[in-house]
Symmetry: C2
């Protein structure tokens, strides 16, 4: 089958949709964030790729704190809105009910089932973006989103962004079980 | 509603499931990779968080090249397998049909609908992991996975990992449209 080199901005990985929380001019500010991943096992660190032109970029540089909030499928509209409207022009501080954990410049979104506060530990300077690495200080949820004390993804109902089609997706069917299906595959290899 | 601080290893974001390709002892080697995101807009860069104990870690340090391959829902077993078996003990070079793009130490997986080759540009040294930042050299697909020349996520059929439940998920229903739902939300705000 012929391999086709595709446009490099069209590579179509699904990204978890989150909302980045920062303090801008001493007020809460929010931005849709898809370029995010865990980066370190212990201590728990995550990183966020933020364009240098975004207000959130300067806010993190300024305060050294940020939050990552996981919206539900019911929050698609407002999540997309905070991604298309700049904090430089629009005050987004009153869009959500906000609370704080240990950090006072990392606003946490009440409406989101999962909210994580981070202290910036390293800024990786890249050509158009900074990659902000934060140490997780606390992750907050509520009893109604937990099962046996652990976050339950079916109660949290996160969503996913794909490009270049620009669609948001709910999770669908369970197609396998990590650490089990691989063990079964290994047994099959031995036969 | 009371906010509960949850175990910091149980924060339950959905991660896109990929397979990291490297050259280990001059042979292809593969590892399940979930800690991955785009980090820079232009040039296109992505980053991968790899534990320092993994064979893939030393392979990237050694060659300065790697690949990221997107498996389909039909490849759950083998993808999980390359995540639970170490390249230090097991030769995983013949699990997939392999081809190469421009880079000769970034093996691309024939069975995956999307394969991306990266040249390492920066290694971020973290306590237990390195975060490898690579510049995308090429992304390869095939006509059968494209619609109008662009990768079509419904043809690619990627899958997602969630923890702490350790389940793999297909994408489900479309719940919204990026850059449109936010614009509609903005219009509603004006009313």
């Amino acid at each position: 089958m012929e391999k086709i080199a595709i446009d490099m901005n069209h590579f179509c990985l699904p990204w978890v949709q989150t909302i980045l929380g920062t303090h801008l001019n001493d007020k809460p500010n929010f931005m849709a964030l898809d370029w995010v991943t865990r980066v370190n096992y212990k201590p728990v660190m995550m990183g966020a790729g933020v364009n240098k032109g975004n207000a959130s970029h300067d806010a993190i540089m300024d305060t050294g704190e940020f939050s990552i909030n996981i919206p539900t499928v019911d929050m698609v509209g407002v999540t997309d809105y905070v991604g298309i409207v700049s904090g430089k022009k629009t005050d987004k501080s009153s869009l959500f009910r906000v609370f704080y954990g240990e950090l006072k410049k990392a606003p946490l979104i009440e409406e989101c089932p999962l909210r994580i506060e981070f202290r910036l530990v390293q800024t990786v300077d890249l050509p158009t973006n900074s990659f902000f690495i934060g140490e997780m200080i606390n992750a907050y949820s509520e009893e109604r989103f937990l099962t046996d004390g652990k976050p339950d993804v079916e109660k949290i109902r996160p969503f996913i962004l794909t490009m270049p089609d620009n669609r948001f997706w709910a999770l669908g069917n369970v197609v396998g079980h990590a650490w089990k299906d691989g063990a079964a595959f290994r047994e099959d290899l031995k036969k």
